[in-house]
Assembly symmetry: D2
């Protein structure tokens, strides 16, 4: 993969919005709504599938899911931009937090309590 692809797509998303004068609709409130709508389009592909079927999608279905993946990423980029937040920096901070919250030696395995762990990223 080429360098700085993430910076490149952030720039492309920004320009796409500006060219269309759509920034006026991009309050964080609205963007959070647009993002969850795309997240739901992702969920919709899996709602009647078993977990195993969800891991074995047809090429057609995979192509549709790929589009929702992109839509979610694009809105996330716009949302971060509007809030003047940096996604990479935010993820770095969160991974440190999560590592402290879920020490590997404590949470590894399959005890009943694993159902109580909300963050499984």
């Amino acid at each position: 993969m080429a360098d700085n692809d993430f910076d490149r797509i952030k720039k492309q998303v920004r320009e796409f919005v500006q060219e269309r004068d759509w920034d006026q609709f991009h309050s964080p409130k609205n963007l959070s709504m647009a993002l969850i709508v795309e997240a739901a389009e992702m969920v919709e592909h899996f709602q009647w599938l078993t977990e195993e079927q969800s891991s074995n999608l047809s090429p057609e279905k995979l192509a549709e899911v790929e589009q929702e993946l992109a839509d979610i990423q694009v809105y996330l980029i716009s949302l971060a931009e509007k809030l003047k937040l940096d996604i990479i920096a935010a993820v770095d901070k969160k991974l440190v937090l999560n590592a402290a919250k879920y020490p590997a030696d404590k949470v590894r395995g399959s005890s009943k309590k694993y159902n109580e762990y909300k963050d499984r990223s």
Copy 2:
């Protein structure tokens, strides 16, 4: 920003999951659910705010929103990984599609029809 940060965080997310043996829970079906739950935690911060208030968050609120941003990105990375999809490639394809679907000269402006455009990324 350093090079390949996106590759770096993808690798860190992958290792985080492996160290905890959490991959067993990461069917695409489950990950799509975890992702929309985080998207909703983002929405929750804005549900009673006006659009303007959503653009002027306190430092405390902004820090919380930054965590949801990270959580969404992390699950998106895990979901892409499980589906063997590449987020950057997916976004590249989608931006081309969107540019054709919404030519700037046609959709720019504030006609009533803008409410009918679903993709405003």
Copy 3:
């Protein structure tokens, strides 16, 4: 409104599912996914509208929103049925809880803190 309409529609939803032998797909897990997908279809109608526009929908838009309202109610009924829960009883309990959590004399008004109240039902 006629008596027992809620019981009537619960019965009709149950029969609709049974006639089609769709109960096999109706695990609570799946139903929760189907429900949030419909909730997102509702959100989608409002994502680019201002709050005021959302209170003044065209007849066409209102008809679409009415369909999402119905879809959400129907999946909620199926979900309650699968979990052997009674929606009316659940609401009764929750209203009592909420009244204690948000005493009217304490939460009425427009202090800054109102943004911190999650349950505004």
Copy 4:
């Protein structure tokens, strides 16, 4: 179950909101956000469970799920009220539409196409 319970809880929800002067926050836009946030709290209970586990919840978990069920119903009632829509009438219309869209004799069974049916209410 007593008569007109649904009318009764609609009235109680309306009064609850009025006593607290919260109607000002109840634009349909905001209510759609509040509703999907509750729908996500429901999803969260199931995200790491298998379908079978989701059908066999502990009493503690079931009590939590019951609360989300109530929260969703309450916001749905407020949303319908704000839009001057009647939930029962909306469901009646939708069930007729769905019966025509999914004739029992055509959709019953377990053919591969069932994954393509979005409405399985």
